[in-house]
Symmetry: C2
Subunit: 485 residues, 2 copies
């Protein structure tokens, strides 16, 4: 378990006054302070960590967010921004002395501009809500986290979220044009806009994925894309995870970019089949779901080429959907994978790391060895096309030894990702979960430079502290060594 | 003309000692200090500005760059990084007391990894040199600035360069995986890598387009893409620039993403036709070159749809290439456009701004009005698909009044871009050219936050000073207002 910083006693002592001040800024139902009503806010998608906040405030406008920030900044109060609270890395975990700014009431679609293929929405609009608003005209918003029904675009921006279809369309950063952003001092800043380039530094890129540590996003301008003519999936089953990994590397290496390329190993196939009855091959050690899109002719051409590549890897079976219905049947098991794995184990840790796709066979082999060494089962289901792994480590949270082993196993997997040239995170962010592993990815002077960037926005370290950086490094890093004379 | 900061007398006084110290770090031909040999370095693509540097150093390794930076940092010496010196905004303009670090000798392709579709190259490799290294295997590097034969990938990263084909493939930022980066203190940092996501902040995004002000990029990891099966262009000529602009907005609004969508107005058509004899329609007020790519069937389908859209705008002529040769003929005039305009006017200013594509008709109309009001001809040739304007203002640099008017006209165009929701830059960066217009785009507190980011990397403001920010704001911005205890 990861330590949280000690609360500031002077802030805890002023709780009543702080709540009253917040109520003056956001009247009506906008401030939550009763312990029982704080319950839903004490954790996020990383449910192993729980901590009730000092209070929750639910502003309805950028002006209110700015006023809350001005008050908190003037009074040295820590702030934790929150969208739908679906973060899997504990990015929205509260602190005992922090005010949670929840953006769920800022949920208006402000503008859809089809001529410029963009939508302007408030931060609390759900990911799927954007697509819903533009679907009738044949457009969609591309990044599709598994939680897209619930998760909010503001949180997507803060964690630079991905999804199964990001192989073709890129992650949030690739689909973002601008944000309205409230600084720690409560000033409102517009970053980016309706155009491709940025004058001056690209701080839109910096804000994207900054995990609520540089400021609070209240409005988002996203690119919307014309929906493809159609899409179809195929399923390919293999005799070993290494062979399936090699098939993925071969598909990507050939230059084909499918719209999705998902990987499931044997434990995951069995769990999903028992849950969804999707007709998955139970004799396979690994299977791929590969989806392409475009015109019928293009789908046929791409599926034919992919089928031929898979054929070189001695597949157990290849099943190419001929219709949208057959495609949906192939996806059915995958879409319920996390729930399905939840049925076969009391608990699981969902890891998230990224590796070069060519390393898939080796890394999957090594994860199998670790699984045997730790005596813990692992179910692999992930976005293989862009090398984004999601090993699910099965364990029993009521058994401290099992929990300890699962956390050590997870950390070993992430170290392995870095070792082969990959990255600690894929799409879940660092949060509290991977905070203490940042030293595996970065050298001390590299972390110091990143802390100096944080300090350039938030010198008092009030915004979402205790995330991203190891706790001992928290607080602004010293400036670069002063010049000799 | 724009002011440069006063040189530091103590640095000028130590010139001999500085040159000797640089020679010790980069022996052989690696240091240039003779005035006649400094000549080629006194300007870049923005030739109106000239200033010889204190000295030029040409390192051959990241270690040498780091050693030079350590020396300059310890001695308070300003540094201007330089690739091929093709910047059109004066990004590589020297200062009298600055050491230019030229990266042209660092020109090795370090690795091509086809399995992971990436190449690792030194910063001094030319843009086209990357494609040349991977073309035999059917791959290419997508961003294609007009200067791609000469310009270097390190400069592309620093200016976030674009090009005609960025409509489909995105700009440098969208094709970049990682950099090796030397800080002002001479420390070497690896940012990004062979994977999609970044742990911690996305400072790769921040470094991209930072115009040499945060550190020096010495190695670059770029995505390479499979070359398309084929590509074909069409030419559409219209009766007014407004109508042609409306046709562009209609094509983009329809959801089609051509690989290139170029716009030329009447003066540009005539200049190019006289130069290249490409068979351009001399009776048109504006023409579009629209290129699509993919299989033959896909090209036919897309060209058919675009032709139908253009047909709704009463075109004078539509010419669809049936072969690669016919396509090349259509491109021939466009590719020589800048040279062609250079033949009809003693001098021209090439502006660079971005607007929402739906604003094209209105903005082109307004530029025409300005042209009449200033009494200066303007030739428009630009990447219309992503709203990236390049108006060429024709003037006579030997006539001070003509020069003054041309600069005022250019500034008015950029103000107009911002006014309609666009941006001061498209792909040329801010440099010295647009430095004093940053206040048009940003509010004072927004500029202050960007200067704080600069200060988090370079508190002494040694790296490429006098660019990007108005001079009076130069130097680290004050920290956010201290909290009231």
């Amino acid at each position: 378990m990861i330590a949280l910083p000690p609360p500031k006693p002077e802030v805890l002592a002023r709780r009543e006054a702080i709540v009253a001040a917040l109520r003056a800024i956001v009247p009506g139902e906008g401030v939550i302070s009763a312990p029982v009503e704080l319950k839903p806010y004490e954790t996020d998608g990383l449910t192993a960590y729980r901590q009730p906040p000092l209070a929750v405030v639910l502003p309805t406008s950028t002006g209110q967010v700015a006023a809350v920030m001005r008050y908190c900044h003037a009074n040295g109060i820590r702030v934790v921004p929150r969208g739908a609270g679906t973060s899997l890395s504990g990015g929205a975990l509260p602190l005992a002395d922090a005010v949670v700014i929840g953006l769920m009431r800022m949920n208006r679609i402000l503008e859809v501009d089809y001529d410029n293929r963009l939508a302007v929405v408030e931060a609390g609009v759900t990911n799927l809500g954007i697509t819903a608003a533009v679907a009738e005209r044949g457009f969609f918003y591309a990044p599709d986290p598994s939680s897209q029904l619930a998760c909010m675009i503001g949180g997507n921006v803060m964690m630079n979220s991905g999804g199964a279809h990001c192989l073709k369309y890129g992650v949030t950063a690739n689909n973002l044009l601008g944000v309205k952003f409230v600084t720690v001092e409560g000033e409102v800043v517009e970053i980016g806009g309706r155009h491709l380039d940025a004058a001056g530094y690209d701080w839109l890129g910096l804000i994207t994925g900054s995990e609520g540590q540089l400021g609070i996003v209240t409005e988002v301008t996203v690119r919307i894309l014309p929906s493809p003519e159609g899409a179809r999936a195929m399923l390919a089953a293999f005799r070993s995870i290494e062979v399936a990994g090699a098939a993925v590397a071969a598909i990507i290496g050939s230059g084909i970019i499918p719209v999705a390329l998902e990987f499931m190993d044997r434990p995951c196939i069995h769990a999903c089949e028992a849950f969804a009855h999707a007709g998955y091959p139970l004799d396979a050690e690994a299977m791929l779901i590969i989806e392409v899109e475009g015109s019928e002719a293009e789908q046929d051409m791409l599926l034919g080429r992919i089928r031929a590549i898979c054929g070189r890897f001695d597949p157990i079976s290849l099943r190419v959907a001929r219709t949208a219905e057959e495609s949906a049947a192939i996806w059915k098991g995958r879409k319920g994978a996390f729930g399905a794995v939840g049925r076969i184990s009391p608990d699981y840790l969902c890891m998230d790391g990224t590796i070069p796709t060519s390393e898939l066979p080796r890394v999957l082999g090594r994860i199998g060895e670790m699984s045997r060494a730790y005596g813990l089962q692992v179910a692999n289901v992930f976005h293989a096309g862009d090398g984004n792994l999601h090993p699910l480590i099965l364990f029993d949270a009521n058994d401290p030894e099992s929990t300890r082993k699962a956390e050590a196993f997870g950390a070993d997997i992430l170290r392995l990702c870095v070792e082969v040239g990959g990255c600690l995170t894929g799409e879940h962010g660092v949060g509290v979960e991977k905070r203490d592993l940042m030293g595996v990815q970065f050298l001390p002077h590299e972390l110091a430079q990143q802390r100096r960037i944080k300090g350039a926005f938030d010198p008092d370290w009030l915004l979402n502290p205790s995330k991203v950086f190891p706790l001992e490094g928290e607080g602004a890093a010293p400036a670069p060594a002063a010049r000799a004379a």
